[in-house]
Symmetry: C2
Subunit: 341 residues, 2 copies
DNA sequence: ATAAAAAGTTTTCGCGCGTAAACTTTTGAA
DNA sequence: TTCAAAAGTTTACGCGCGAAAACTTTTTAT
């Protein structure tokens, strides 16, 4: 396709018959040059496969076209899905997404923020670890870099927060469970990493009391992000200790529920809402695998799409100069009825 | 902590009492300077929080300290886990990992290779999409950038390939299934994205014939990476059509098996090796969730750790100048006996 | 103590581009 | 045709660092 190899913007400008600064202008915003000029550049772009050196580009720019995406735990398909949506939205908007996972480790989260800073990103989409996050570090980072928080909020840090209306999730599920059977107890980790868990518990308590039932919370030990393992191990322990005083168990999240379903299986408890079933189990999130548990898990679906779309839009609106006060956007969940409850 | 803000290496060198080129040398290899000098630099490093500008650093270097990690589908926890291990190994070796996922899309895979090229990475760890990969593009890329392929191989491209001995996986499982019950049939997608599927099928056929059994393959339609969905939908169809002539089903991979387990559940088939069970189901990979299916899935475990460790080691050995011929390393799988078969 | 080797310094150059200012050309409408 | 605005060009400078060469100092070995 090419005659001679283009080594830099100077040579490319010569080849396209346009001056170098104009070419530079084109790459920063194709609409900023005359259509005729643009055509000449794009013509040359097809003859030669020149691409500007990104390091030289970013060196003299205070802000790059990079957007950092940080999630707490990428091995959780929920975050993998969100990351995918966010990446696509960034690319569509002409930005370059860079993906990071804290892998559940606070130290790594701090390291990521550090190296992100030196990337001079235009903005960052950050889902913090939650309870274990270094609040001071994140606050400082948000002061330096335009950051939109999502999934789990930390006070009112960042430009905005986009997440789910967690109390509504629990209310929805409690209402359904109560009108279709016994009132549920709430199964959760004692010290959950994610602050959403607290809001779900509170939502559960409020919903139960509104219906005139006494809330019953089964808290189990467990640290980290291996929720399925905790759900299984501590689910077994709780079952054996007779800690459930109802046949309906609402789990704090789907991954915990997946582990708990396995615990039920190992104890020979048939899960479901049929008359021959021993126990009903429900979760929160609509985790990608919840459709494929046995039985398929009844849960409350997070609005993945809306959350990621709105997070990206909020960030880009802020980047384009529109100063807005810290805004919190919470999306409602939808009941997903399957066979487990 | 700091007195005055350090703006560049020049100022930092002045503050630490060492010349700028020496500081530069230090950052490229801390061991290349005298211990005394190193101490002075690291002393200053604690007083001021200076960090070299990565864009300026990489501009004049033909090779950076970046290492690209490319996986085909990050929403699959298997790849998320591998990515985590690879990232950690890169960091430990003093490199900067950059993670990409093709999200199952060949176009995106090519885009990633393109933008990776402009990152001037020291090396790349690439798990290609497989059948849908653009072979020509990958071949060209491997010619430009030191690349170690893993998980799914493409001819003898790249510096090396690191993966699993897939025929051995199937042999192991077939042997076990045959000596503990009926010989298995093989359940797979007709046009699998991943070439490992073909090797597993071949391993299955060879193992069956070695034991004097007639192989029986159940191929179902389905494209893309939504394996669970395909396993469920096509599993239901195959069950209803009576396509299984044995009570033992060996699935091409665990995600397919997870979907198939759900199909069995929906048809009221009890899965397991007990006398009251109707069907046995097994998989390949030891997917992170396989422990938590109901019943827990019997499978052959990929040696995640060895694969990722060896891939990284191979790459770094090559980067340090040791020219080696294209080498293929395959790790054996281990039988993981659970309750499903 | 003395020479040789190792490490550090100084000097100089250049990477590929962004950016600003002053100037020139093109464009489009009156 | 005329002219002002828009777009492009020229010129000039600098970003923050890598790298090579020649020189100077420190360390190591004899």
């Amino acid at each position: 396709m090419s005659e001679t190899r283009i080594r830099n913007m100077e040579e490319f400008a010569a080849a396209s018959g346009v001056s170098r600064p104009t070419v530079s202008k084109y790459f920063n915003d194709p609409d900023s040059v005359r259509p005729k000029t643009r055509a000449r550049i794009e013509d040359a772009l097809e003859r030669y496969d020149y691409r500007p050196n990104i390091f030289a580009m970013n060196q003299n720019r205070k802000l790059t076209k990079n957007v950092g995406i940080v999630v707490p735990y990428l091995a959780d398909p929920f975050f993998a899905e969100i990351a995918r949506t966010l990446e696509q939205a960034c690319i569509a908007a002409g930005y370059t997404p860079v993906l990071y996972s804290a892998h559940g480790e606070p130290d790594l989260e701090n390291d990521i923020l550090d190296s992100l800073r030196s990337l001079k990103p235009a903005g960052v989409l950050l889902a913090p670890l939650g309870r274990l996050s270094d609040r001071a570090a994140i606050e400082k980072f948000c002061g330096d870099v335009p950051t939109v928080l999502f999934d789990s909020s930390i006070r009112d840090l960042g430009l905005a927060f986009v997440g789910s209306d967690n109390p509504q999730f629990s209310r929805l599920m409690v209402d359904y469970l109560c009108r279709s059977g016994e009132p549920p107890c709430f199964f959760e980790m004692k010290t959950p990493a994610n602050p959403n868990a607290n809001r779900r518990r509170q939502g559960y308590i409020a919903a139960m009391e509104a219906l005139g039932h006494a809330p019953h919370i089964v808290q189990v030990p467990g640290e980290g992000w291996a929720f399925e393992e905790i759900g299984l191990r501590e689910g077994l322990a709780a079952l054996d200790a007779g800690r459930f005083d109802t046949d309906t168990v609402l789990c704090s999240n789907d991954r915990l529920a997946i582990g708990f379903l396995t615990a039920c299986y190992e104890r020979g408890l048939k899960v479901g809402r049929g008359s021959d079933c021993h126990i009903r189990v429900a979760g929160h999130d609509d985790h990608p695998f919840s459709r494929y548990t046995c039985p398929p898990l009844t849960t409350v679906a997070q609005d993945y799409d809306s959350i990621s779309r709105h997070a990206v839009e909020t960030l880009f609106r802020a980047l384009e100069g529109q100063e807005t006060p810290h805004e919190v956007t919470l999306f409602e969940g939808k009941l997903v009825m399957r066979d487990s409850a």
